[in-house]
């Protein structure tokens, strides 16, 4: 089993530009230390229609009301501002930016557990005698004996048979080579919605880890 950079085709070049947008890094950095409620705020605003901050503040009284502490309120305000900036990008671009934010957030959290040097983006995994998958993995952890491959989704709807097969096939091929490869999905959505999506899938899921909005911190080794 070996890792390789994805081909620099047109899609990759365009998407690299999205990933390099400073707004992506800003949003992901804020969300890395956010509470579940703050992450839900980001999800709602980035997918919302209203650009009025007060509407969102009203919708999340635990984050912006008198009970919120100063540090928490400051972070919530920063997340609100960044999320509104994402929402302001227009339908197609906001969709790309949201996806890039989830990937960057995943990479940041994984880096806390395994060290940033082991975390890579947009990588393919090659196995002897197996034709390489066209689509690269969003985030990989590349270290001897404990490699990981993660695909990232903005919402539960993004879970589909292709990605489930690709992840499970990679895990299976690794096993055939006596390698250990943990595979998983990071979904910036509620576990309940993910379970609904998975319930109708016939692709194998038993050995694929699912990290949802409630359990994101587990990526970084935290049980928070």
């Amino acid at each position: 089993m070996r890792f390789q950079d994805a081909a620099r085709d047109g899609r990759a070049v365009v998407y690299a530009g999205v990933q390099a947008d400073p707004l992506v890094a800003r949003a992901a950095t804020l969300l890395a230390d956010a509470s579940r409620a703050q992450r839900l705020l980001a999800r709602a605003v980035m997918n919302g229609e209203s650009s009025e901050p007060d509407r969102w503040r009203a919708m999340f009284p635990t984050l912006f009301g008198p009970a919120a502490d100063n540090a928490g309120r400051e972070r919530s305000e920063a997340i609100l501002e960044a999320s509104l900036a994402v929402a302001d990008r227009g339908e197609q671009v906001r969709s790309q930016v949201r996806g890039a934010v989830v990937e960057e957030l995943t990479a940041l959290l994984l880096g806390r557990r395994v060290g940033t040097a082991a975390v890579r983006r947009e990588r393919r995994i090659l196995f002897d005698g197996v034709r390489a998958e066209i689509h690269p993995y969003d985030v990989t952890v590349e270290r001897d004996g404990a490699a990981e491959a993660w695909d990232c989704k903005w919402g539960a709807r993004g879970i589909n048979a292709d990605v489930l097969h690709q992840l499970d096939d990679a895990r299976g091929h690794a096993t055939e080579e006596d390698e250990r490869l943990l595979v998983g999905l990071v979904v910036f959505d509620a576990r309940r919605s993910c379970d609904v999506r998975l319930a109708r899938q016939t692709a194998p899921t038993a050995a694929t880890r699912l990290v949802s909005l409630e359990t994101l911190d587990a990526l970084g080794g935290s049980k928070r």
Binding site: A37, L40, R43, A44, N47, G48, E49, S50, R55, W56, A58, M59, F60, P61, T62, G65, E91, W154, G155, A156, R157, D189, A190, R191, R192, S193, D195, V196, R197, A199, R200, L213, E214
Partner: protein, 100 residues
């Protein structure tokens, strides 16, 4: 404290959610997912309503649910609606201090 109860607020939320669900069904390829998703979250909200129906609701929580209902009413793109079918109930549950 408002004169409204949690049961009344959740009835209003349920009506807004049903309207969202109808919009989401316009995406034919996702009809099964949309109906399953709506059923799963409606069941969760119904459970909260059954347990806390008569409880008075404070102004901030009521305002949060009303703001979420207003926002849901602005979403017209059926693809974005599908995302809101997951997001909206999470906001309502968070406002009520309930886990998703």
């Amino acid at each position: 404290m408002s004169d409204t109860t949690i049961g009344v607020a959740l009835e209003q939320a349920a009506a807004a959610y049903a309207a969202l669900g109808e919009l989401g069904e316009a995406v034919e390829d996702e009809w099964s997912y949309v109906t399953d998703l709506a059923t799963a979250w409606e069941t969760r909200l119904d459970g909260v309503s059954a347990a806390r129906r008569a409880e008075a609701i404070d102004d901030a929580t009521l305002g949060a649910i009303e703001a979420a209902i207003e926002e849901a009413g602005l979403i017209v793109d059926p693809h974005r609606v599908i995302d809101w079918l997951s997001t909206f109930p999470q906001i309502v549950l968070l406002a009520l201090g309930e886990p998703a």
